[in-house]
Every structure is written in structure tokens, then in C-alpha cells.
């Protein structure tokens, strides 16, 4: 089963985010990008499928700071082909990104397209559904686990309220991954270093990055701190009594 995985790079929330002078975008001078966690699960799911059913795994990511490392890491896990989408990728929206990705994926003709179901910088919807629409494929999102069947896959999908469904999806299809069947594996640095010497990354121009008439950010600001916290002062016993009283008032106890 040939699989294409779409990986986005998103702001790393470990670093403090700052808003730039325009007041409508993040200050990129301190920004560090990291692989979108759910896309990392999509890569893992693709490798797991390759290990159980064979096939080729192609990983595609936009050309942003740190992308080579992310692609070489995917290769060290078992990805066969690495594609870097080149062009003005900084701040590109999902509308434009999906258009470019769809053109590449049409050429690769995979049986399955995997991507994280969402990313922390999605503004105009997520990549998966739009890709599916452009490619004329079925889409299933919030998938946590995929098993291969003949010309279909069985996907596990969790619903709120503790319900789990198993869905048969005919191929080709696009899946929005919430979690891989197993947590993403660790790759020792030595293996990544080795890949950076042997694996090849193909540069693929993104072409026209038409942002469409999608949403534009006018004003960006930090959420205001809530003022609902009450500090309870006093001796431990008094604090405990007060807490119990509050819990009772609120019907928690």
C-alpha cells in the first residue's frame, strides 16, 4: 500500500509567543517551528502500515526552518521518499497549501493519504478535508489506528461519550490522524545523522500559492487572564473546611 503523508510545521509552544509590530501576526524572530504533533502520528501510522502491508511511504513537508531534520527523521523511521515543498512557505494558509499538495499527490498516486487531523496554526480549516475534496477521495477524520484490508482500510474512530467506531474506508482515501496505532517511535540521533548523509530530499516547487479569499488575521492578542480564581488563606484546617463548604455549595460533593 503506497502512502503519502503530509506534514506541517507549526509554532513550538514551549517558546513564548510574541506578537509582532503589525499586531496581526506572530513575531518570527523568536519563533521556533516544530513538527505538528498529529502529523508525527500520521508518519508513525504510515510506517506501521508499511511494516504490516508493505508499500512505499512518501513524506511531504513545506520548506520551513527545521524541515530537513523532520524529513530525515521520517526516513530513519522507514519513509522511502522525502519531498520538500519549496516557495514562499512562511505564513502560507491551508487553502494554498492544499492546492499545491494536491498537484503533487496526483502525481504520486498513493492508495492512502495521511495527515494530522488538525494543527495549532490551522486558521482556514484543516488540510485533510480540503485535500480529499481536491483529489476526489473519501475523507475520515479523528482516526486513531488504521489496519489494512484488501482494497480498503479499517479505521478506528473515537466519538465523544466513550463510543468507538470501526469504519471500513475504500481506497484511495484521505485520513485525518488523531493518534497512530502506537506512540511515535524514538529515533537515535546517530540514525538521523546517517540518513542526512544517505537519504535524498527532493525539492518540489509549490507553484502558485493562491491564498484564495480565505480568512485574514486583522488583530492578534493574548487572551485576557480570568479573574475567577479565589485564594483561600489561613491554616490548613480552615482552608480544608472552606474548600469542603465550597464543594458542597457547587454540588461537587
Amino acid at each position: 500500500m503506497d502512502i503519502a503523508v503530509v506534514v506541517k510545521l507549526v509554532p513550538d509552544l514551549v517558546e513564548e509567543l510574541a506578537i509582532d509590530e503589525s499586531g496581526a501576526a506572530l513575531d518570527t524572530s523568536y519563533l521556533r517551528l516544530i513538527v505538528n504533533e498529529l502529523d508525527n502520528h500520521a508518519v508513525e501510522q504510515a510506517i506501521l502500515l508499511k511494516e504490516s502491508a508493505g508499500g512505499q511511504v512518501t513524506v511531504i513537508a513545506p520548506d520551513l526552518e527545521g524541515v530537513d531534520d523532520i524529513l530525515f527523521t521520517a526516513a530513519a523511521k522507514g519513509a522511502d521518499r522525502l519531498i520538500k515543498l519549496t516557495g514562499a512557505m512562511s505564513g502560507v494558509n491551508n487553502y494554498a497549501l492544499s492546492n499545491s499538495l494536491a498537484a503533487i499527490i496526483r502525481e504520486i498516486k498513493p492508495h492512502l493519504v495521511l495527515t494530522g487531523v488538525q494543527a495549532n496554526n490551522d486558521l482556514d480549516g484543516s488540510v485533510g478535508p480540503r485535500l480529499a475534496a481536491l483529489l476526489g477521495m473519501a475523507y475520515v477524520g479523528y482516526v486513531s489506528g488504521v489496519t489494512p484490508a484488501n482494497d480498503s482500510v479499517k479505521v478506528r474512530k473515537e466519538y465523544s461519550g466513550g463510543l468507538v467506531a470501526q469504519v471500513a474506508v475504500r481506497l484511495p482515501a484521505v485520513l485525518g490522524i488523531q493518534a497512530a496505532g502506537k506512540p511515535p517511535r524514538y529515533v537515535p540521533i546517530s540514525k538521523i545523522r546517517q540518513m542526512s548523509k544517505t537519504a535524498r530530499i527532493k525539492d518540489q516547487p509549490a507553484g502558485d500559492l493562491d491564498a484564495g479569499n480565505g480568512a485574514a488575521v486583522k488583530h492578534m492578542f493574548k487572551p485576557e487572564m480570568g479573574t475567577h480564581a479565589t485564594m483561600i488563606e489561613g491554616e490548613a484546617d480552615e482552608v480544608a473546611d472552606r474548600l469542603i463548604a465550597i464543594f458542597k455549595e457547587q454540588d461537587i460533593l
Partner: protein, 401 residues
């Protein structure tokens, strides 16, 4: 019969043994008597499917893949207890145990908790997964200035390598502040690297991630080369081990002192400053990476005895027989894993030893220890009054200022 190195018939056991021979004193493994002392002294030997003696047996029987399929090796906390007692003087910790972890890591057999710490070190340069930009935040608003190299000065007599826990862990920041206070009292000309400092990487190395260790070392080497200084001061014995025994082979070579050594050298100057008397019965816990790994036993004790009002007592395990806190070799990041396998913590055992000699203070000298021992003490009713303090904190408390 010897099998040629490139023979396709070489088994995994054989190539693994051959890789041990390349390490310092690695060939000594041939002299194993199968006495079992290593597995007996190992604090987690009872919870290991394959303690070191059995690992050697599987190598000799050419079935080392049994070990590779189990997670037994991940119980090793790189404490040097086995190497210390081995009658054949086989350096088990640095050869057999570390190499086995390297192979497990390559094979993808890694406990999830450990993976997190390694990923953090890879990405952020510290095991706690914090922003490097905040590495010197603990130095802000201190009574005693901690100069930042590059920003406040280009050169200093002493470069203080603070370490991950000293920089980020709220409990160990208190130790860092104590060290800063003592350095200020002695008028030491020093500076710290701040955001340029990376994890020393030694425990990651002993957890099998040698490549990561080399990457972190290279970053530290690059940062250090920017400045002029005469010696490195470390607060973390693991960093001491890295700078003393590992970095030189990577071209990073500086004189290094653990703070206990550094302060004992200045005891004549320090002692008159220690005026506040305490009433303490102190048991000192030898950290593995000061004691067994680096033979530093006396300086911490000398320092403690210089504090007025301190009565030093020894627990049943002390000096070369000290009992590991469980944090070495990646153990620091595998508490859940260890608990699942062993249903016990070495720290609980240690706290009981301190109580048995009626100590009211357990003194330590490694940043892994205060949180580990304090957690254990909280779970033992009789330990309610037992204080866990780094020696630096006890020294700072005794300063009269």
C-alpha cells in the same frame, strides 16, 4: 575458533562482545567467573530478568537476543555497584550495561518515559523540555549576582556549569542560589553560560543515546570556546563525569572541579565565614558519580564537618557501598517504569537507613537527589522531621551575613 570480523556468520552475541573489546578494559569481560556478585549487589538485580552475570552467560551461550527482547536492561541505573564489587574488575557499567542500552535504543526497544527525556534533550538541549531562552531566568532578582558570560563579561576565573536541573527545577534552583551565595561570599570571579549552556548529556549517554551525548557535548564545546576562563565548576556530578572522563576525547578539555572539591580547596577562607551554628545530625549520601565513578569521598565530608554544629554519621551503605538514588543512567526519567517492575524505590530504603542512624538531615551533593529523597521521605511517617539538603544549602545557611 575465532570468527573473522566481517564474517556473515558472526552472530549478534559475537559482534556485541567484539564491540565491548573496543572499550577501555572491555576485554576483561572474558575473565568473568560467573560468581554472581554483580547481580547480587545490584539494587534492582532482583527485578532484572538478566542481571549482568546472566547477561554474560547469554553472551557465552550465544543467545544474547534473549536480553534484547526483554526490557531487563532498562532497570540498570548505571550506579557502578556491580563494577565496584566484581572480583575480576570488569567495568560492567561503562561497557556491558551501556552498550546493551545502545543496542536496545537502536532496536527501538525504549520505555516511553525515557523517550520523552531524550526527545526533550534533542530538541531543547535540556531534559526538562524547557525553552533554552529561559535557562538563566533563575538568576534574576537574586541578592547575589550571577554574571552571564557574553552579556555581563567575556572572561572570568571560574566558569560555572549550572546544569539542567540547577537551571530549571524549582527545588534545585534553591541549590543553585545557595551556590551563588557561597561563591559571592568567597569573592569568586565567575560567570555562567545561561541560554548557551546545554545539558551535559552524560545520563543520556548512559541511557544508550551516545549520538545525542556527542551533539550536546559539541554545543557545549562551542559555547565554552567563546570565552576565557581558567577552570570549570560543576554542581552536578554527572556533568563532572562528562567533563572529566568523556569530553576530553571529543576535544573539549578543561580543568573541572565539583563544587565540594572547589570549596574544600578554599576551606581556610570559608571556615571563618561559617558562623551560624546548627544542631544537626547529618547522614551523607555519596552520589554514584562523585563516589564510585570518580573516587570523591572525602571532600563532601570535610565540607560538612566545617559547618559548626554538624555531627556527621554514616549510614549502613556509605563510601564505595553507597546506595544509588535510582536516578542514574536514565533512571531519573523512568520512575514509573522502575516502579512497575520493582514495586520498590531505592530512595525509600535510603531514607530508612538515615532514620536508623537517627539523622535529622540527609545531606546530598547531586541535583537528582533532593526531589527523589524528599518524595520518598513524604511517604514515610517516621521521616516527617528529616530534612534533605544539598551540602551547598547547608554551607549557605551557615554563612553569617
Amino acid at each position: 575458533m575465532t570468527i573473522p570480523e566481517n564474517s556473515p556468520h558472526r552472530s549478534f552475541s559475537e559482534s556485541f562482545i567484539a564491540s565491548l573489546y573496543d572499550l577501555p578494559d572491555g576485554e576483561r569481560i572474558r575473565t568473568c567467573l560467573q560468581c554472581g556478585m554483580c547481580g547480587g549487589v545490584c539494587p534492582f538485580g532482583y527485578a532484572m530478568e538478566f542481571p549482568p552475570n546472566k547477561m554474560i552467560a547469554t553472551l557465552r551461550a550465544d543467545v544474547f537476543d534473549w536480553v534484547m527482547k526483554s526490557q531487563s536492561v532498562w532497570m540498570c541505573i548505571s550506579c557502578y555497584a556491580c563494577a565496584q564489587v566484581c572480583p575480576s574488575k570488569i567495568p560492567l557499567t561503562t561497557t556491558l550495561m551501556t552498550r546493551a542500552k545502545e543496542e536496545l535504543l537502536l532496536a527501538g526497544n525504549v520505555p516511553t518515559e525515557l523517550q520523552q527525556a531524550l526527545e526533550n534533550s534533542q530538541r531543547y538541549g535540556n531534559v526538562l523540555g524547557q525553552s533554552q531562552r529561559k535557562r538563566a531566568d533563575w538568576t534574576k532578582a537574586l541578592k547575589y549576582p550571577v554574571p552571564l558570560m557574553g552579556q555581563d563579561r567575556k572572561s572570568a576565573d571560574v566558569l560555572w556549569f549550572v546544569g539542567d536541573y540547577g537551571s530549571y527545577h524549582p527545588r534545585i534552583q534553591l541549590v543553585s542560589k545557595a551556590v551563588a551565595q557561597v561563591l559571592a561570599a568567597l569573592g569568586i570571579d565567575f560567570g555562567v553560560l545561561g541560554p548557551d549552556e546545554n545539558s551535559d548529556g552524560d545520563s543520556q549517554r548512559l541511557a544508550g543515546e551516545r549520538g545525542l551525548f556527542e551533539t550536546l557535548a559539541a554545543k557545549n564545546g562551542q559555547a565554552l570556546r567563546k570565552y576565557k576562563f581558567n577552570q570549570i565548576l560543576v554542581t552536578d556530578p554527572h556533568a563532572y563525569n562528562a567533563f572529566k572522563n568523556q569530553y576530553p576525547a571529543l576535544g573539549i578539555s578543561y580543568p573541572v572541579k565539583h563544587y565540594t572539591q572547589f570549596l574544600v580547596e578554599r576551606l581556610d577562607q570559608l571556615k571563618p565565614l561559617l558562623k551560624k551554628a546548627a544542631n544537626m545530625r547529618v547522614a551523607y549520601h555519596d552520589p554514584c558519580y562523585l563516589g564510585r565513578a570518580n573516587d570523591i569521598y572525602d571532600e563532601p565530608r570535610q565540607l560538612l564537618q566545617a559547618i559548626p554544629g554538624v555531627e556527621l554519621v554514616e549510614m549502613s551503605h556509605h563510601h564505595t557501598t553507597s546506595l544509588c538514588c535510582g536516578g542514574g543512567g536514565g533512571g531519573m526519567w523512568m520512575d514509573g517504569f522502575q516502579w512497575e517492575k520493582a514495586q520498590a524505590r531505592t530512595t525509600n530504603w535510603r531514607i530508612k537507613e538515615a532514620l536508623a542512624v537517627k539523622a535529622n538531615t540527609l545531606a546530598v551533593a547531586c541535583p537528582y537527589e533532593p526531589p527523589r529523597f524528599e518524595d520518598a521521605a513524604r511517604n514515610i511517617r517516621e521521616a516527617a522531621e528529616l530534612a534533605v539538603k544539598d551540602i551547598a544549602e547547608l554551607v549557605a545557611d551557615a554563612l553569617n551575613d
